[in-house]
């Protein structure tokens, strides 16, 4: 089960503003989902290594060849706010 405080804490970590109604629903729904997810808690996993990637690949490197990159005007063209040649953001706080 997840309590109210955990929902607030996780929402802050995830940078998500939830309305008070959303917090209540989220607490109920996450708790419900975790009841099902908790079947993995009962398994004996002694000596079982984790799988992070299904196809074994190691140290994939590309050749270090110079090539043109995105011009600044294109890199910035989708930004909601541009200040000179940079992305505009509100002050830190």
């Amino acid at each position: 089960m997840i309590d109210e405080e955990t929902v607030r804490h996780v929402a802050r970590l995830a940078r998500l503003r939830l309305t008070p109604d959303e917090q209540v629903t989220m607490q109920r729904e996450l708790s419900g989902i975790l009841t099902h997810v908790d079947v993995i808690q009962g398994l004996d996993l002694d000596g079982v290594a984790p799988t992070t990637h299904v196809i074994a690949l190691e140290n994939v490197l590309r050749d270090d060849v110079p090539r043109p990159s995105l011009p600044p005007a294109e890199a910035l063209r989708e930004a909601p706010e541009v200040i000179e040649q940079a992305f505009g953001v509100p002050r830190m706080g």
Partner: protein
């Protein structure tokens, strides 16, 4: 022309019976008349210009002039790409996904972008922030998801084929519900460059088509290493367009865990009939067990949300997309993401952030990664006994719009048959194998990594013997 397979359209173009401009015009007309809600937007002008250029060019690449629809999860340069989300409203990518670029280089003409569950999270396409998509077999039912638009448009003859993406079943399940063919290749087969990421250890791009041969042809142009995706693989052998008519010597394992009470009787019966066809064609069918697949859903709903919570951190309203005005940076992040992500996306970000958070990591993410190992092992043991495994693609036929939207877990159950294969990174496809209550039933076949050719051969032979008519009632052929 819109009733023809892509292969038949290619033949008609080569024989000079039709021009690409006419073909594209016919498909655009069908796509613009869109009672199913398949498309988020069409690129009519762009498609017409490309078709004219192809008609005028002296050289004919293999897919020259053939229309295709693309799921809106794939970036297309200068063409709005929203991923079904408000947070990307108006976003015009500055580059095109490798998969789309490869098809365009082979001459294919993108006619439009298809509807989807927001950020590919869902099994009914009802999580799109923009519109519903309806199942061409029954307009009151869902097309499946998350690639619902890409499935519906092919079933409704709005495009001969399309691209989708599959993380836990998002190609195979909608293909099953819409009565068409859908394939998720081996993890690493197709470059993910330009695919807006959901869960990076699971996401794969693949084809939808009305025939197995068309799916194979499309896949043959997609596979291979891309320097822009370090997880993409050198492909060991070309993907062949299948011709097999028999299944002599093929051993098929029917997954017992997916043929129980959780699966509708009509679906079980259609799959059992298909197993009879396997035997008629000279193959053998044996029961097989994947014991850890019972934990597949739980494992997936830790791993996929965990990866999504990291991947979706990039949507911050600063470099692209929409934003909500705020006084401070923290308020900007929280306000933009809180207002512009939909409920399911927020739920998964929350679940994933929780599973990765200090104090919970070992219990959730760490354990799920170890259960994933057990699932990989189950398949390895199965493939020591059989060549392919078979199961239903979905435990049910298409469900009604709104039927599962109140309970997230009920929606998650829609992918119970497809998720174990995804966790193991294996190739799998769904072909229609019959009807239950007038709605299509999908048969899922999965094989070892890189067994695409064997899978396609088996699927083609079965498809020919089953003779399923992919034309939904009420849709003009």
């Amino acid at each position: 022309m819109v009733g023809l397979s892509a292969e038949a359209q290619i033949a008609a173009l080569r024989a000079g019976e039709v021009s690409s401009a006419d073909l594209v015009e016919e498909q655009l007309a069908r796509a613009a008349d869109d009672p199913w809600g398949s498309f988020l937007r069409l690129d009519a002008d762009g498609a017409r210009a490309r078709a004219r250029a192809i008609d005028a060019a002296p050289e004919r690449p293999p897919l020259a002039g053939i229309p295709i629809a693309v799921k809106d999860v794939l970036s297309t340069r200068d063409i709005e790409t929203t991923c079904g989300s408000r947070i990307l409203e108006g976003f015009r990518p500055v580059y095109t996904a490798t998969s789309v670029a490869r098809l365009e280089a082979a001459g294919a003409v993108v006619i439009g972008k298809t509807n989807m569950d927001e950020f590919a999270m869902g099994s009914s396409t009802e999580n799109s922030a923009y519109q519903l998509t309806r199942n061409p077999w029954d307009a009151d039912r869902v097309p499946g998801g998350s690639s619902g638009g890409s499935a519906a448009c092919v079933a409704a003859r709005q495009a001969p084929w399309s691209l989708g993406s599959d993380t836990g079943g998002s190609i195979r399940q909608p293909a099953a519900l819409c009565g068409i063919v859908g394939m998720k290749p081996t993890y690493g087969a197709v470059s993910r460059y330009g695919l807006i990421a959901f869960a990076s250890s699971l996401d794969q791009i693949g084809p939808f088509a009305r025939t197995v041969r068309d799916a194979a042809l499309l896949l043959s142009h997609l596979v291979g290493r891309d320097p822009l995706d370090s997880t993409s693989l050198e492909w060991p052998e070309p993907v062949r367009v299948p011709t097999a008519e028999r299944l002599d010597g093929l051993r098929v394992g029917l997954v017992q865990e997916l043929m129980g009470e959780g699966t509708e009787p009509g679906v079980r019966e259609a799959v059992e009939r298909a197993m009879g066809v396997v035997e008629d064609l000279g193959g053998t069918v044996v029961p097989i067990s994947l014991p850890s697949s019972e934990q597949g859903l739980a494992t997936y709903y830790v791993i996929a949300p965990a990866e999504c919570s990291a991947n979706l951190a990039r949507f911050d309203g600063i470099r692209y997309g929409a934003r909500v005005a705020a006084e401070t940076l923290l308020e900007h992040y929280e306000g933009t993401r809180g207002a512009l992500f939909g409920p399911e996306v927020k739920r998964r970000i929350m679940l994933g952030t929780f599973a990765l958070a200090s104090g919970y990591y070992d219990q959730y993410y760490g354990r799920a990664q170890r259960v994933r190992t057990l699932i990989v092992r189950d398949f390895r043991e199965a493939f020591a006994q059989v060549d392919l495994v078979a199961s239903p693609t979905s435990p049910t036929v298409a469900f009604r719009l709104g039927e599962r939207t109140d309970d997230p877990y009920q929606m998650y159950l829609a992918d119970i048959c497809t998720i174990p294969v995804s966790l193991a990174g294996l190739p799998a496809l769904s072909i229609p194998c019959g009807l239950a209550d007038g709605l299509p039933v999908g048969l899922q076949l999965a094989g070892p990594a890189f067994s695409e050719n064997r899978l396609l051969d088996a699927a083609h032979a079965l498809e020919q013997a089953i003779g399923f008519d992919t034309l939904p009632p009420g849709v003009e052929g």
